[in-house]
Homo-oligomer: 228 residues x 4
DNA sequence: GATGAATGAGTATTCATTCAT
DNA sequence: CATGAATGAATACTCATTCAT
């Protein structure tokens, strides 16, 4: 009976049916994620150069060769990871684009940074590392440009978003100053605030056992207290 | 025969007195420094892994083989650089060990940090890079311990110094708070201050063309203004 | 369920009668040919080693796996191609086996060579390439032997045919000499003729843009003129 | 005593004297040759792609790594070999550049071709192979151009030399025709001659055991007899 | 003390082949 | 019969380190 049904020349399903493209796509996507996850962990922990494809593959439970079925090269894998995470992260901060930040929103913004650092710890470890090698830094800049090109609309671009955020914060600090009856002559205080955030991020992301979560939460609240 | 010719060609110094061991030692020390300097520059710029012994040697104007006459391995070279610089840098901050910091001394302390970052920019680039790889981080910790062991007297050790500095700053922040009539219940503000310094250092050290020296000087003054 | 959908989509032929084994065999044979054609083109153009199974399969519009359903290995595929083409080509020259070559037949023979080179250009490209690697040459010799074994009757074998052709040509050259009143003491002139044919074949088969078809036709006629 | 003589800071000769640059250059040149020789043999025998660096190195009695001390890549090694041999071979044919070929010179020319084929058999095996892969053919053309660029004077270039030889031969065939009272309307006979030489070269160079040296010498004389 | 040729273990990458579906 | 994910052995190439001179 089964045989009867199968009378066809170009029948895609057959004796032993190959997976459908939907099934395959799911499998592929899952494996891609798995590889990227494995790679990110190693990159974050040991650095890009010290991480070998073998390590990544072994950790992901696949063969070296298979990795190249999903990513054309180690560098492409790195870029893909960074691209993906950056895309995702920027979406978190894509909200207050009217340019006006209330105190509550500012507080939310800081908390959001903390949450993001916590959730994407490995990625930020990698990102910090990348930022520290001038050669790699250049590649990141290229990458950022290509992301922007993909994003097409210039006001959707990453640098545009960065500028937007900077502008929004600048306005916030200005208003704060004016409210206190002081004159706002420059973004100096904002810059200091950014240093603080950077330093906090650096400490949090690379903290191993020294400090606990409570310590960092208190820090976040203190930062909010100081700069709100 | 061929030896003889050579002997007459490139002899620079006296033919009369054999060099003393002190002279030899000086020459050795100079070459060591040269190699370390060359290595530091490459490590800082391209990262430890991307830097080859060949590059270092060529840049230092010596042969690869000779490098191994001065340092047993690439890793040992790295450690030696870090060891040396840390030693040197800690000496800058080895002053106010009475534990009492005046406002002037605090200001001086910040300026001193800035000066040190400027003077040892390459080293800090390397140090930051090293700090970001957990594997390497562990090695650094080992190294620090061995430095302390070498230093022998525990109150001369680096961690001891770090603690000393932290304590001194903690006292300073406490006094400041009390002077303002507020209660000092924790080192939270100090920690925020440390984040700020870290973030500033990170920005300064890896800044390439975005900001100029004036910008950073203003930042330093603002930090002093905020935390003095 | 999902199977069901597929079954209704791409069914081309009759739903009623199961295909006969002859039909199936025809389909198989057509696919075999397709793969061999695709492979030959790639082998000829890029060489055996530079050609991947993936390329062949993609070009033939099938999956890699399916290729292995038709040929047990890349090498077997190569052998099969050579075997097939050699078989086919030798049939072209399987006529004048009475051993007597008239002038008209000689002329036809040369033209036939030219036609064959033109028609099977890719194959000759491949064959020349194969002939130039001693390791591969050995395999070809093995292959030839196995063809002969398959052919069973020794006077049907390729080497036998080659010898036959050589003998026929030798007789032809001998008669020509004698007709001119000269003594024929060796096959030297025949050998030179063979060099000429080889050189012509080589030039024709690997010519890309330098010479046009007219040039080669003139060459053919000149060769006939010189050796008839 | 020995110590006494060695009083110098930047003395190149020392305790255990390193080799002089002349010595080193000799060693290097010898090893370069050795590697190229080993590579040529393998390339000729098994083809470029089927030859591995490991094979070459093992055959040359050195480590894989060392090969890269002399040649930056497998491809560069190939190019270097071809470049070197082509340079050398063209010098053999760099004589009759007045454009006039006597019968004796023509004979010498043919003999010279035979001698060259004999002496550089492996190289010609490689060259024929290279000519048969369109991809590689392109590289060869590039290479030829670069050789010409190096040669600087355009009339020293290889294609120029090729044209020169062709022209000289064309004139020779023309005179021959005219001497016989026939009209020379095209280079057809010359082209046939070139096919013959090609076919002879091909046969000679890839002959393994079928024919002996005597056979080929007779062939050469016959070619001379036919075309002189 | 100084050189650089030499080594070999290690790295990213490729590709014929297998196999579950 | 048909697919393409998966494997693993092989390959070109790199680089820290050694060692004869």
């Amino acid at each position: 009976m089964y045989h009867k049904i199968q009378k066809t020349i170009i029948c895609i399903t057959d004796y032993m049916t190959p997976r459908t493209s939907i099934q395959l796509e799911k499998i592929r996507e899952a494996k891609r994620s798995l590889i990227m996850q494995s790679a990110l962990e190693h990159f974050a922990k040991n650095g890009y150069y010290a991480t070998t494809i073998s390590h990544i593959a072994k950790h992901a439970g696949i063969s070296k060769g298979l990795m190249y079925n999903y990513f054309p090269s180690k560098e492409a894998l790195l870029k893909e990871i960074i691209y993906n995470y950056i895309q995702e992260i920027y979406q978190y901060f894509d909200i207050n684009r009217d340019g006006y930040l209330t105190e509550e929103e500012f507080e939310y913004f800081i908390h959001q940074i903390y949450r993001t650092l916590k959730e994407k710890k490995s990625f930020f470890q990698l990102l910090f590392q990348m930022m520290m090698q001038s050669e790699v830094r250049l590649k990141l800049i290229e990458l950022q440009k290509s992301i922007e090109t993909l994003a097409a609309r210039s006001d959707d671009s990453i640098t545009a978003l960065e500028k937007q955020i900077y502008k929004t914060l600048s306005d916030y600090f200005k208003r704060k100053k004016e409210k206190a009856g002081q004159e706002y002559d420059s973004d100096l205080e904002l810059n200091i605030f950014i240093y603080t955030i950077k330093g906090f991020a650096l400490t949090y992301v690379f903290n191993e056992t020294e400090f606990d979560e409570e310590y960092f939460e208190k820090s976040v609240n203190k930062i909010i207290e100081l700069y709100k």
